[in-house]
Symmetry: D2
Subunit: 117 residues, 4 copies
Amino acid sequence: MGILSNGEERMVVVEFSIIPLGVGTSVSKFIVPALKEMEKRNIKYEVTSMCTIFEANSVKEALEVIAAAHEAVFKTGVNRIVTMIKIDDRRDKKISMKGKVESLLSHLKKNRDECGD
Amino acid sequence: MGILSNGEERMVVVEFSIIPLGVGTSVSKFIVPALKEMEKRNIKYEVTSMCTIFEANSVKEALEVIAAAHEAVFKTGVNRIVTMIKIDDRRDKKISMKGKVESLLSHLKKNRDECGD
Amino acid sequence: MGILSNGEERMVVVEFSIIPLGVGTSVSKFIVPALKEMEKRNIKYEVTSMCTIFEANSVKEALEVIAAAHEAVFKTGVNRIVTMIKIDDRRDKKISMKGKVESLLSHLKKNRDECGD
Amino acid sequence: MGILSNGEERMVVVEFSIIPLGVGTSVSKFIVPALKEMEKRNIKYEVTSMCTIFEANSVKEALEVIAAAHEAVFKTGVNRIVTMIKIDDRRDKKISMKGKVESLLSHLKKNRDECGD
């Protein structure tokens, strides 16, 4: 866990996707144990069509969650998994899933207002 | 553009993220031109805290959109960009952003019902 | 194609990997047509255990190559492919595959000399 | 650590790249502490122009190494880092960096021989 210079608790935002190979072209049923593993650990996650996103207090904590999710998928009988992870770790300011989207949309709105779109 | 064996139009689901280097730690304002480039082309996109997701009729079309979005960010004065792309291209069944999430959540619900969670 | 401010031809360095789903756990034979597609276009590529890397004069050109490589893999009878791409596009200085590795190793050497490692 | 059904020790092959934001467009000097962190742990790694690749006995072990490498880069004064990771974890057969490249090149050679290229 980390504390920012302003005293706030640090957050990392993490995206991952687990791709099971050799179990057909419909793979979502194999991903279910990964989501359940996160729920067991009380991790609030966002599911999108291409990845799962969540917040953690540190990279170490985030990667432990993903290692457990990855391992859970093997228990369904899958023999090969490719897992991709992207970590956003910022230490001069607190970030969050909500805050990052709001920042982008507010810049988009400002640009539209200025351009008279 | 592609047609599936059942006559449906094929869709690819694509995720990308554009990371500008050397312009400070707050980068969302530099990403705005990428989103505007997509809007100019009438691409409906989903913004998440870690990536942008959209659908296209072919990989070629999807990558042309991303190349244009990537180029637009350079016009803000950025000198180096790392862009990541992930393509999901399925040809035995039509996929969509909505359909993929629904499939995963329905498998999760079914699993919960069976396990009595 | 792009020209840098110093008159040099711009280069982008691109990494990609193609993951065929539902065709077993041994997938390298399905990747062969992607490499042959690159060779047909006289693209010099580097194969690693996790990705293929090449240089191009523009993002547009690089993505056309990858779209063709991706398409070639479908011709082997694969029904679903996840393709990942990472683009490094720098415009204040010419980059190359060779130059990037040399820069990193020279910084590593300098650090070792300074630290007396 | 894992043992395969044939008694061999399991290996995972892992690729990662660390992207420091807001410290200029030349970033290789910031990556040096990540490589030194791996050397301190006696991890043999391969540096490419787009990523670093290494082998580990488990996903857990691999991710601990990457978390340490990521953390080391912050010590250079960087305030935001995006780190990408791709894991290849196969359990029906031992994989290695060397073995994966050899398998692909042998399939490519076989294809060329058959096609009379």
